[in-house]
Symmetry: C2
Subunit: 191 residues, 2 copies
């Protein structure tokens, strides 16, 4: 049995390694993410993770185990994806400033006929940011490829007063929940 990570995110790769899973293959899902459906963020991330997982599972050999995930940032019902440009990053960071938002990650684990799909939510509280601080953070280049225009595992840590929930979930995978899901498939991350 091989483990397949259906994501090209270097952060998800690092999180799997942090869990002690070092022998896996990366095989990103093809196709566009359809975020047009009117779903709650929790339902949306589960649906997107499952769609990615099924697409990749259909391309791999029988017996392989596929892990897929999707993360979104949500504030007051608005979903913040990756910023389109620096002005968009500025808009998002100004929205997040001084507020608590939710990060939802959906994760799907599939092998042959068996499928598990769950989500985890972490609350993130930003400190109030000045215009200067937002511009300085954008100038680091960190926001541009990240949902919500920040990276908690990078310079973005300075912006965050605190979180409530699983930290790794904000980075891209709910490692505690995922380790339990993997046990259902006979894959132990400890012992």
């Amino acid at each position: 049995m091989s483990i397949i990570l259906a994501s090209q995110s270097p952060r998800r790769r690092a999180l799997l390694e942090q869990m002690g899973i070092t022998d896996f293959t990366v095989l990103p899902a093809r196709g566009q993410e359809d975020m047009s459906a009117e779903l709650t963020p929790e339902h949306l991330v589960e649906t997107l993770a499952l769609t990615k997982g099924r697409e990749v599972a259909a391309r791999t050999a029988a017996g392989n185990l596929v892990i897929a995930a999707d993360t979104v940032v949500a504030l007051h019902g608005e979903i913040l994806g990756k910023p389109q440009d620096e002005a968009d990053a500025y808009r998002m960071l100004q929205l997040l400033s001084g507020e608590t938002h939710a990060v939802h990650t959906g994760v799907a684990v599939l092998r042959d006929g068996q499928t598990l799909c769950e989500h985890e939510t972490t609350l993130v509280r930003f400190r109030p940011l000045s215009e200067r601080e937002i511009r300085a953070y954008i100038a680091t280049g960190e926001p541009m490829d990240k949902a919500g225009a920040y990276g908690i595992q990078g310079r973005g840590a300075v912006l965050i007063e605190g979180i409530q929930g699983d930290y790794c979930n904000v980075v891209g995978l709910p490692v505690c929940r995922l380790s339990r899901m993997l046990e259902t498939f006979g894959v132990r991350t400890l012992g």
Copy 2:
């Protein structure tokens, strides 16, 4: 002005770098930590950070800025330091299993006559651990040099259902609070 980190912890060094501070010198405090005084954990970590900071400040040139810190894990009033051996690590992990404990980090910033000393507390919730999981985690070697016998930034992440507060504080430095303290000294981590 030079920045001096009064700690030999590689994790604290990495956290300073994550904050964007790359030009600093490491100069650990000498002397034993005296944890015998009957202080609350919050008071204890501030006292220890201040003691380390003063000791190092006395050895550096005028004008240098010294950052010192101390972290303890506390559960039901008991302070858990670094485990003495594997049996001690087992005892600590069994205590933490299924419970929520507090991680307190005291941080002191000193330059010439000016001193700031604060602390930050983060709550950490462990999932219930089986004997097998505890033994497997100890076998990774990760617990032995860490307060409370776990590392949240390593394999220990799998053990943790969630936290409440600053994640970096559990790793060893409250980066959001520290960035504000540094601003008082004219050191900006953003912009």
